[in-house]
């Protein structure tokens, strides 16, 4: 299953300027996307496993890279939550 708006957010944040804006003001950027409350909470809480069920794995990886998470931490959260 794909959450369109979650995926759209991740897709848009591939642009460096958009990623920088997200890192500076996460809530402001998220407010532009009609995300379900549990999805928004998962984004803000770095709930990798919850988000992994709702988007493409490449987009998931790009997002956490853009958000500043190292691959080692991302992989650990994918595996163990």
């Amino acid at each position: 299953m794909r959450d369109y708006w979650l995926s759209k957010l991740f897709f848009d944040l591939q642009a460096p300027a958009a990623a920088a804006e997200y890192r500076a003001s996460r809530e402001q950027v998220l407010s532009r996307y009609p995300l379900a409350p549990d999805v928004q909470a998962a984004i803000l809480g770095n709930d990798v496993q919850f988000l992994a069920k709702r988007t493409n794995p490449y987009l998931l990886r790009y997002f956490f890279l853009a958000a500043g998470m190292k691959d080692e931490e991302f992989i650990r959260m994918l595996r163990y939550g």
Binding site: A52, P57, Y58, I75
Partner: protein, 274 residues
């Protein structure tokens, strides 16, 4: 008439650039040598046009428009938009619109329905091999995007058939173009999955054995069986299947294979027999 002058494949993992400093010196030497070998052979073949087959890594397409196959029919394409490829020397890359449109028309005539783009952005999948092969002169590029990123994906059998179609289309183009084919991506890797970082060497060596042997039905059967059980990045072997079909299923010679944990990819390089 146009002629097919070479068929090649190479890995394209982004960490080949982004994490290049972390790659140990012996692996760097082998990777560089493999890319340069392909580059020398490609240059020696003197192609006017290079048909390059790669996925789109969420650069041109999104969930609202996700073609299984897209041919870049533009006179020009844009260079890679990824920030880590800022130093890639070609920001605009020449295409070959008449030949690309001939491919598209041939496809439609033969029961294939590709999407078309008159201006594609060529991401790392297209540009890293071109860059690392250190070509003195870039041939005109006709890019073909094959979806191996977001399921459902084209079958291996269909990818082989696409390659056969390319072979026929090259043979029926009236101008005396010299055309080469390069499939990029793979072999095994895993992105954004719990297995991320894992390289499936057993899968990779089986792939190499199957492509070397040449037999397309067995290749399709084994890949369809094994791909769902290995990392998602291995799906890019579809581009190798297109190259295999274009080469007439003659089998390839491996230039090198090395699993490189620092780039999280089983890196492979090959040239099909002629």
């Amino acid at each position: 008439m146009a002629s097919l002058v070479g068929v090649y494949a190479a890995s394209h993992g982004p960490l080949l650039v982004r994490e290049w400093r972390a790659v140990p010196a012996p692996e760097k030497e082998r990777l560089t040598a493999a890319f340069h070998t392909l580059g020398r052979h490609l240059s020696a073949a003197r192609p006017d046009v290079l048909i390059e087959i790669s996925p789109d890594h969420w650069v041109n397409f999104f969930l609202d428009n996700l073609p299984a196959v897209c041919i870049g029919v533009g006179e020009r394409h844009d260079g890679p938009p990824e920030p880590f490829l800022e130093a890639f020397p070609h920001r605009v890359i020449d295409g070959h619109a008449p030949f690309a449109l001939h491919l598209a028309r041939t496809a439609l005539r033969e029961g294939f329905e590709p999407s078309l783009s008159h201006r594609l952005k060529l991401d790392h999948g297209f540009c890293i091999p071109l860059w690392r092969m250190a070509l003195e002169r870039l041939p005109r590029i006709v890019p073909i995007v094959v979806n191996s990123i977001e399921p459902p994906l084209p079958s291996i059998e269909r990818c082989l058939a696409w390659g056969e179609l390319l072979r026929r289309a090259i043979g029926s183009y009236e101008d005396p173009l010299r055309v080469a084919v390069l499939g990029t991506g793979g072999l095994s890797h895993s992105i954004g999955e719990p297995t991320m970082g894992t390289i499936d060497e057993d899968f990779d060596r089986e792939c190499i054995r199957l492509f070397s042997a040449g037999e397309p039905a067995r290749l399709a059967e084994v890949l369809e069986d094994r791909l769902p059980r290995t990392g998602n990045g291995a799906a890019e072997v579809r581009n190798w299947a297109v190259a295999h079909g274009a080469a007439g299923h003659r089998g390839f010679e491996l230039v090198d294979y090395l699993p490189v944990p620092q780039v999280i990819v089983g890196c492979a390089f090959a040239e099909w027999r002629f």
